[in-house]
């Protein structure tokens, strides 16, 4: 199975994503330069963390117009799994592939620490292997992760069960103290209506080995591997039926 890791000028977690998928999980991964116009034979697309275009103007604002993004949009609209991590999440928001926007952290500080998030729903491409309510410990590293959307949009996200990760304390309670950036409703990650595009501020790819302080992030990649093999299975059945 092949992961495409999109590389924007200023991406800096592309190697972490590549390492997690190849070295830790034993899959294939290919770097795709943002000026490329093909995702090749990718089964999963990862928009990695970093500072695409130096975060000039707004985080993700310029990266969303990179040539590869048209292809990422097509891939997502065809149901392909797309994971946006940190800056990748910000790019997905600017691109309109996920609703809402990011504001500067409430504290105006760059927050770099491990946080706990609660898995709200396990029926997305990247949380299939999770149990609802499961807590994951992953690092964050961002200055603009203060998720914002109009109240009616937030209400719709909650109603559609699109809020997938919420910042909580160790007991799984979404308290204000456990919210590192001021995100509305402690939202740490959300998915699209198709449940195949997911963005989150924490870094699962940096939490794939115990030596790094946590291996909780692995479950997102294991989930999508299961989702893709299930999807291929269904496609094979569909071909067979014809």
């Amino acid at each position: 199975m092949t992961f495409a890791v999109i590389v924007f000028p200023g991406s800096n977690c592309d190697h972490d994503a590549h390492y997690a998928t190849t070295h830790v999980l034993g899959q294939r991964a290919e770097y795709v330069w943002h000026k490329d116009t093909s995702l090749g034979s990718a089964d999963v697309v990862i928009l990695p963390g970093g500072f695409a275009y130096g975060d000039y103007l707004r985080t993700g604002a310029i990266a969303r117009f990179s040539p590869i993004m048209a292809e990422v949009r097509r891939f997502a609209e065809a149901g392909g799994p797309v994971l946006g991590i940190c800056n990748g999440f910000q790019v997905l928001l600017e691109a309109g592939l996920l609703p809402g926007a990011m504001l500067r952290n409430r504290s105006v500080q760059f927050r770099c620490e491990h946080v706990v998030v609660r898995v709200e729903h396990a029926d997305t491409s990247f949380t299939l292997a999770c149990a609802p309510g499961q807590r994951l410990r992953m690092p964050i590293a961002h200055g603009e992760g203060n998720y914002y959307a109009e109240p009616d949009v937030v209400a719709r996200l909650e109603r559609n069960r699109q809020v997938i990760f919420r910042y909580t304390n160790a007991d799984g309670e979404p308290t204000d103290e456990a919210n590192p950036n001021g995100s509305v409703n402690n939202i740490a990650g959300l998915c699209n209506e198709g449940r195949n595009v997911l963005g989150l501020m924490p870094h699962p790819e940096r939490a794939c080995e115990l030596a790094l302080g946590s291996a909780d992030g692995l479950i997102l990649f294991e989930s999508v591997m299961r989702a893709v093999s299930g999807r291929e299975g269904r496609m094979r059945v569909a071909v067979f039926d014809k």
């Binding site: 604002a61 504001l103 952290n105 001021g182």
Partner: protein, 84 residues
């Protein structure tokens, strides 16, 4: 043609930077400053036949790139070369 674009956070959106600047001004004794909202200012040099065309072009650019309509609004001013 010269255009100015002012991008500001919508009134309903919390501005952590503006709040920090407000607090700093209070620390400096400027108690009369009740609130600060921080925004962005752009100057665009535009090749357009007239002010209306320039405004249309710049507004489109502001919609598409200079502002994020989820959190920001903008205002465009066209400055005629002759009066500059």
């Amino acid at each position: 043609m010269r255009a100015r674009v002012f991008v500001t956070l919508k009134p309903s959106v919390f501005d952590p930077q503006g709040k920090t600047v407000t607090d700093a001004l209070h620390t400096l004794g400027y108690a009369a400053v009740k609130d600060v909202r921080q925004g962005k200012y752009f100057e665009l040099d535009v090749d357009a036949p007239g002010a209306e065309e320039a405004r249309r072009l710049v507004s489109a650019a502001a919609d598409k790139l200079l502002s994020n309509p989820v959190i920001e609004s903008y205002r465009v001013e066209i400055v005629d070369e002759a009066t500059r």
